[in-house]
């Protein structure tokens, strides 16, 4: 039920600034004007025209960066963070409440959790044995057990989870955050998606910039040697490559002289400088040679099961260190499907958990030991949860009516449990948290009021949270 059909009306930089004078735009404008590049000092072309320049938030931020661990497919809440004894009692019996329509309409009996839950840490948060390493960080986690989504299908739910809207075409949260705050990093994009091999349904549009300028779109970094498309210089001979760039600079300068000063033209030229910096920065970023052996071990790098995701978690830390604003991590292929266990829940969830448990725990511990966790908001979750009754014999179908996620670091109160589902873990009954609330909370921790982070187009001030969203104060410090 959202108003969502406003077409992109791209703007010139001037128009953008002049239109942004309402709400958050004013802060952006003030920040830009306060930037020496905009003011008295002679502007260097790069800064003057760089929309990724850091901006001042609405109020002091708790978190500077976000690492979003997207658990594609939808992990099961009652098998991870939301223990439900009733499932044990009624295992194998028909569920005693009304069954909502499901994706497969293959509704089986109530199915108990195959793993044991234990109280973890000082806070005693129950976490199932799927996550032995993460359990050591229990006191850093704020577990939300009352998430809901509006969609039962992956693609819609993925778009919704990322952009607050169930169809293709809206800016992803990473794009919004980067639009709001710019980036502290001068040599990498502000919003990076680290792929471990699996792109969620809905494709790259989950990370798009929608109607925001393309500057804010997520940049996909693949695992492996060439993480970014077209990054490697075309010429192996660096002198010849340099000659080409030198000639290009000369000819471009002449173009400006002949055609006259023009923002678009000049920013297109400046753009090459960032691209050039990226070419050297990215290989340095991806090179883990100077990380200690202990660090690599912490992330499970070197062990077959955890190597892929461990590397990505470590690279995420290195990106945040360099000032990248928003890093999203995607799941890897573990032989089974990602967390989408329509059948064989036990084997599938085990493999998925195995791949991420130690790397994520490693990330949290590493961030903490470096004093970075306080400034980094870590978010873990999937697009929906799973049904308490089996799909077929041993799977679970999609359940958007109640599921769990957790947040850590960046102003979040660790050791918290928030919200509640019913005895089956099926529907939320207390402190329902919508995706919009999650977005509002994330923006809040980054120092932004979700109602003031707006972008005018198609005649409306658009927001990540649409016309919804409330900050979840119950999980904040």
């Amino acid at each position: 039920m959202h108003c969502h059909k406003y077409q992109p009306v791209p703007l010139t930089r001037r128009e953008m600034l002049s239109r942004c004078t309402n709400g958050f735009g004013a802060a952006a404008l003030a920040a830009l004007l306060a930037d020496p590049a905009y003011g008295v000092a002679p502007p260097s072309p790069v800064n003057r025209l760089d929309p990724l320049a850091p901006r001042v938030p609405h109020f002091p931020a708790k978190a500077k960066s976000v690492i979003f661990l997207f658990m594609d497919g939808g992990p099961s809440q009652m098998d991870t963070f939301d223990p439900k004894p009733r499932l044990d009692r009624e295992h194998g019996q028909p569920i005693k409440v009304k069954v909502e329509p499901t994706q497969f309409n293959n509704v089986g009996m109530v199915m108990k959790c195959p793993w044991k839950f234990r109280h973890r840490g000082k806070s005693g948060i129950p976490i199932s044995d799927l996550f032995p390493h993460l359990s050591e960080c229990a006191d850093d986690l704020a577990v939300i057990r009352s998430m809901v989504s509006n969609f039962s299908e992956h693609t819609n739910a993925n778009y919704f989870f990322h952009s607050g809207h169930g169809q293709q075409g809206r800016p992803s949260m990473g794009a919004w955050v980067t639009y709001g705050l710019g980036s502290e990093c001068r040599e990498l994009p502000g919003f990076i998606v680290l792929s471990s091999g699996m792109i969620p349904p809905g494709g790259l549009d989950c990370f798009g910039s929608g109607f925001l300028p393309a500057t804010f779109q997520g940049s996909l970094f693949q695992k492996g040697r060439q993480p970014v498309a077209d990054l490697t210089p075309s010429d192996a001979n660096s002198q010849k490559q340099q000659n080409k760039l030198d000639l290009l600079r000369k000819l471009d300068r002449a173009v400006v002289e002949r055609l006259g000063r023009d923002d678009k033209l000049e920013s297109a030229i400046a753009n090459y400088e960032l691209a050039h910096r990226m070419q050297t920065a990215v290989p340095r970023l991806m090179d883990l040679g100077n990380e200690s052996k202990a660090t690599l071990q912490l992330y499970g790098i070197g062990d077959a099961a955890t190597d892929v995701f461990g590397r990505q978690c470590l690279i995420a830390r290195r990106m945040v260190e360099r000032g990248v604003r928003f890093v999203e991590l995607l799941c890897q292929h573990v032989g089974h499907d990602r967390w989408d266990q329509h059948s064989n829940l036990k084997a599938g969830h085990e493999k998925n958990a195995l791949a991420v448990d130690r790397p994520i725990a490693g990330l949290l511990k590493d961030l903490k030991s470096r004093g970075m966790l306080e400034e980094t908001l870590v978010i873990w979750g999937g697009e929906f949860g799973r049904t308490p009754m089996a799909q077929g014999a041993d799977g679970r179908d999609h359940n958007p009516f109640g599921f769990s996620m957790w947040l850590a670091g960046g102003g979040v109160r660790g050791g918290t449990i928030y919200g509640q589902t019913d005895d089956y873990g099926y529907h939320v009954i207390e402190n329902k948290v919508e995706v919009h609330d999650l977005h509002a909370t994330m923006l809040h921790l980054l120092g932004m009021d979700h109602k003031r982070l707006t972008y005018r187009f198609g005649g409306r001030d658009m927001r990540l949270t649409d016309v919804h969203g409330e900050v979840i104060h119950g999980i904040l410090k």
């Binding site: 077409q7 299908e153 549009d205």
Partner: protein, 1001 residues
């Protein structure tokens, strides 16, 4: 007297009874009267209920904040309720929405965050059961805001267009045509002076890119420079407007509005069948300068035009292809909630319709009356009603003579054969019947229709009254007793009498579709009596067009059975939805559908025997032969009676064989029908308003009409079917204030870098005001006057002096008008993604100018991953085809396009972004396609002397000569790189990267 007395006393009793009755009524009514409640009730309310309301509900339902139109601050307001009706039925908790909502069992669940405690729910329930006593009742709050439509109607774009007189200008020698008068007047008004004229090379490059999306060739440059006649420029304009590349360029602009893509996106990115036919249709229409009003009518109702346009060479139905645009959006293969999915899909269709044709954000009225423009929610659902009365089809495009005519010839031969065979068969049967010692007495075959079974159709009426037929396969009526299966080698030659709707009577090679009227799923099961091979039966619910059977299944089945059998479809989970049955014969099979029956019972209706006397049987045989009405079931029984067939005398098969051979000959030559994505008419359906956009809370019905802001009181009248044709005709009448204004503004936008109304897709209150309102009206009226010729408008625009100005502004002008709102100069523009790629190919010599058809698959890189990835990659250079012909897959758009602001095809995009991302630089510096084309280009210029070669490269890339300095720089560079063949590739690569290559001034 006594009698009279008795009578009186009777009246007395009656009165007494009445008063009792009245008393009862009063008692029942009393809670509604809201008399001051008892002390206990007040206490209960103040202690339990009021605090509960304040704490749990008031944050959304009090004061100015009235979510769902509901205010809970007084009893009267509860009784009045919100958008979904009264919140309270005093004394009846089960009927009170308030209690149902807090019970968390239905669609509406309140409070939305957390369920109330059991005690709180019990308290509220008790309170309502008591009659909802509320001390000091009676206060009501102010009614919710109502939008003042009359006020909104005064917005500029809804006013009739007025032909302005040409404004006077001081520099009277400057204007070349009317456009210049309007532009110059504004410039003078703001103290601006027009920029000088651009040089001829710049002008030619600008014009060529504008009209064709390609750079001018050196020959074209030469010929223009050599043509010193004053008509030289006009000649170029006419040449470019006549070139096929013009339609490719401007067709592509149109595709942006139609969110064109060739796959459905969503999870698996399924193909939209032959979507490229729509792209080709657009390119042809633009090249043919199809009058814009016709173009619009074809989009809205091309399937309903009495005389559709035909493809000039193929003679296929051209007009109907326009309607394909409706279905080019994102769609799902397995929506869990069909109603919600349908509402979302239709919303996208209306969004595209509103923005593209009318510059209106109609979709804003989906959940509430439009907040800024005079569009009500009911008007929005009126448009939905047009869509609900329409369907999707793969239309048959062939002219009648291509398939219809040979099919008719085959049918005639078959009929002749049938007559002969029936004659022979009936005589045989009759003879056998007489010869048999024991006469057959009973026949079977009727399906008993029990009270539990509702026959939707058994085709006993002899027509397709409940169905819509397309294609040739199903004929124009159901099978009769004269539609028979023949076998000349068999005795008797009639093997079987066809039944019901049959798609293989004339030839199994014919294709066709049969779609039922729309009905409501009222029973749990649908039973189909079917027979056939290689055919599909779909149940289309709420317009959910099947890509495949959804994951949960049950909406599609294939038929593979030579004998009739029942197929049972469990539709219990869709009861209440509207839908229709779709029979598809898309190949060499056939389908015979005898009956469709609805029932709550899962078992099909029972077949019962039907008896016929000997006389009736004999009569049936004779009548069959004589062409008189006859009960098919009796003949069926006789034909299937083995005793009647045995020892039958052999038939003379020769004539029959001859006829069938002639039919088979024609059959073998039947061409495959040509099909295309299109809309089709269905049963007229009136959608109901979705209160607050929720398809589960329905309000009043919305008749099929257009928003009043467009047509005033004179509404189109829908006589039958969807009414889209009448709607399209009304919408394209000249009094529509938006249609012409919006399209001329789009042309202006692409020629001058920004529209006169900058928000091209929003002419409403939230959109931008026109910078030159009189000019906009002048152009719009000129378009209508010219018979809606877009080429005429292009010509006017590019022949204007305004268009021919230089892009270099004077300092003073730049100060007064930094955004160049008033066009004191031409803007500098970056080329679109497609033009950049096309220019690479054109310059390198790789460009392949073939037009139309299925485009090459996208070239897949390791960064194009995810579900639905095509099995194989297309060629790196897309076979050299122009970008408009590349296969566009929603989830696998070319990265190069995305880097250069290619729009996500999710809705109408009239104005693309022009952003700056490092990916643009990285693409041009390192992308293999760019490197490949640089090498090709270098090779192409080999053989010239160094200086000529550099000059040739400059001319083809930038449309100009290299300066002495540039020549020297290039030569120096070549030396640095070693003067090899690779050095020339390096130079070509640098020239691709110089901004001049991707900018037009």
């Amino acid at each position: 007297m006594a009698r009279f007395h008795r009578k009186l006393s009777f009246v007395g009793v009656l009165m007494k009874r009445w008063s009792t009755l009245l008393l009862i009524l009063t008692c029942n009514l009393s809670p509604i009267r809201a008399e001051e409640p008892s002390r206990a009730a007040v206490e209960f309310f103040e202690n339990k209920i009021r605090p509960l309301l304040v704490e749990q509900c008031f944050s959304c339902h009090s004061g100015k904040k009235q979510r769902g139109g509901l205010n809970l601050e007084s009893r009267a307001n509860l009784l009045k309720g919100g958008d979904t009706g009264p919140a309270l039925v005093p004394g009846e908790a089960a009927k009170s929405l308030l209690i149902r909502a807090v019970s968390y069992k239905e669609e509406l669940r309140m409070p939305p965050r957390s369920k109330l405690s059991d005690q709180q729910i019990a308290d509220l329930t008790a309170w309502v059961e008591q009659g909802a006593p509320w001390p000091g009742s009676g206060a009501t709050s102010a009614p919710g805001e109502k939008i003042d439509l009359q006020k909104l109607l005064s917005h500029w774009s809804f006013q009739p267009m007025r032909l302005p007189s040409l404004p006077a200008v001081a520099r009277s020698a400057w204007p070349r045509n009317a456009i210049d008068h309007f532009v110059l007047a504004k410039l003078e008004q703001h103290g601006l002076t027009p920029a000088p004229e651009a040089d001829r090379r710049t002008l030619l490059r600008r014009l060529t890119f504008d009209l064709t999306g390609l750079p001018p060739t050196p020959e074209e440059i030469r010929s223009f420079l050599d043509d010193r006649s004053p008509l030289a420029y006009i000649r170029v304009v006419d040449r470019l407007l006549a070139s096929p590349a013009y339609g490719e360029r401007w067709g592509r602009h149109w595709l942006d509005l139609m969110r064109f893509a060739e796959t459905s996106g969503h999870e698996f990115d399924f193909e939209i069948s032959q979507a490229y036919l729509y792209r080709d249709y657009v390119i042809r229409a633009v090249n043919d300068d199809l009058p814009y009003d016709d173009f619009v009518r074809e989009h809205l109702a091309g399937d309903l035009l009495p005389t559709p346009r035909r493809h000039p060479a193929e003679q296929t139905n051209e007009s109907i292809l326009g309607t394909g645009f409706w279905f080019l959006g994102e769609s799902k293969h397995s929506p869990v909630d069909l109603r919600v999915d349908g509402a979302d899909r239709r919303d996208n269709m209306i969004d595209v319709f509103g923005k593209a044709f009318l510059g209106l954000t109609l979709s804003c009225a989906r959940c509430h009356d439009h907040k800024f423009d005079p569009i009500t929610t009911r008007e929005y659902y009126s448009l939905v009603s047009y869509l609900q009365s329409s369907r999707q089809q793969r239309a048959f495009l062939d002219p009648p003579e291509r398939i219809g005519k040979p099919a008719a010839e085959i049918a005639a031969l078959r009929e002749q054969a049938a007559r002969l065979a029936i004659d022979q068969t009936s005589r045989l049967l009759e003879a056998r019947w007489k010869a048999l010692p024991e006469r057959p007495t009973s026949t079977t075959g009727r399906h008993e229709t029990l009270i539990d079974y509702i026959v939707f159709d058994d085709f006993s009426q002899g027509d397709y009254r409940n169905w819509y037929v397309t294609g040739e396969a199903f004929g124009t009526a159901p099978a009769s007793v004269y539609d028979v299966e023949l076998d000349p080698t068999h005795t008797p030659p009639v093997r079987r009498i066809f039944r019901g709707a049959h798609s293989g009577r004339v030839s199994q090679r014919l294709m066709g579709a049969l779609r039922s009227k729309t009905f409501t799923i009222s029973k749990k099961f649908i039973h189909y009596r079917v027979r056939g091979t290689a055919v599909k039966v779909n149940l289309i619910l709420d317009g959910f067009q099947l890509i495949q059977d959804p994951i949960y299944g049950g909406l599609r089945f294939a038929v593979h059975s030579t004998e009739p059998r029942w197929h049972v479809q469990d539709v219990s989970m869709w009861q209440g939805l509207q839908g229709y049955i779709e029979l598809l014969d898309d190949g060499d099979g056939f389908l015979e559908l005898e009956q469709v029956v609805f029932s709550d019972r899962p078992e099909p209706p029972i077949e019962a025997s039907v008896s016929a006397t000997r006389e009736q049987q004999l009569e049936a045989i004779r009548h069959w032969r004589e062409g008189k009405p006859v009960d098919r079931r009796i003949l069926d029984a006789l034909l299937s009676d083995a005793r009647l067939r045995e020892k039958a005398a052999p038939t003379n098969a020769q004539k029959l064989q001859e006829l069938l051979a002639r039919a088979a000959e024609l059959e073998a030559k039947l061409p495959t029908p040509r099909r295309g994505l299109a809309m089709a008419d269905g049963t007229a359906v009136e959608e109901r308003v979705h209160i607050r956009g929720n398809p589960k809370t329905l309000g009043e019905t919305a008749p099929r009409v257009l928003p009043a802001v467009l047509v005033g009181q004179r509404q189109p009248v829908s006589r039958q079917g969807s009414g889209r044709l009448e709607m399209a005709q009304r919408l394209t009448e000249p009094d529509n204030p938006l249609l012409a204004r919006v399209i001329v503004n789009r042309l202006w936008h692409h020629h001058f870098g920004a529209g006169l109304v900058r928000s091209c897709d929003d002419f409403g209150h939230q959109g931008d005001r026109p910078t030159h309102p009189e000019l906009l009206d002048w152009l719009a009226l000129e378009l209508q006057r010219s018979g809606w010729s877009l080429k005429h408008l292009h010509r006017l625009m590019v022949l204007s002096r305004t268009y021919q100005m230089s892009s270099r502004g004077e300092d003073n002008n730049n100060k007064i008008d930094p955004l160049n709102l008033y066009l004191h100069r031409m803007p500098i523009r970056r080329l679109e993604a497609e033009a950049i790629r096309d220019a690479l190919l054109a310059v390198s010599g790789r460009l392949d100018r073939r037009m139309f058809g299925k485009g090459p698959l996208p070239h897949l890189t390791e960064f194009m991953v995810g579900r639905g990835r095509p099995a194989k990659s297309g060629p790196l250079d897309g076979d050299g085809r122009r970008s408009v012909y590349l296969n566009l897959r929603r989830n696998f758009l070319p990265p190069m396009f995305l880097a250069f602001d290619y729009p996500t095809p999710f809705t109408c995009i009239g104005r693309r972004g022009v952003s700056n991302v490092p990916a643009q630089a990285l693409t041009l510096m390192n992308n293999p396609l760019v490197l490949q084309q640089a090498r090709l280009w270098a090779e192409r210029t080999a053989g010239l002397g160094d200086r000529e070669r550099i000059q040739a490269m400059y001319e083809v890339a930038y449309g100009r000569e290299a300066s002495t300095e540039e020549l020297a720089q290039a030569l120096e560079f070549l030396g640095q790189q070693g003067g090899t063949a690779q050095s020339w590739t390096d130079l070509a690569h640098v020239l691709f990267n110089v901004k001049e290559f991707i900018f037009v001034n």
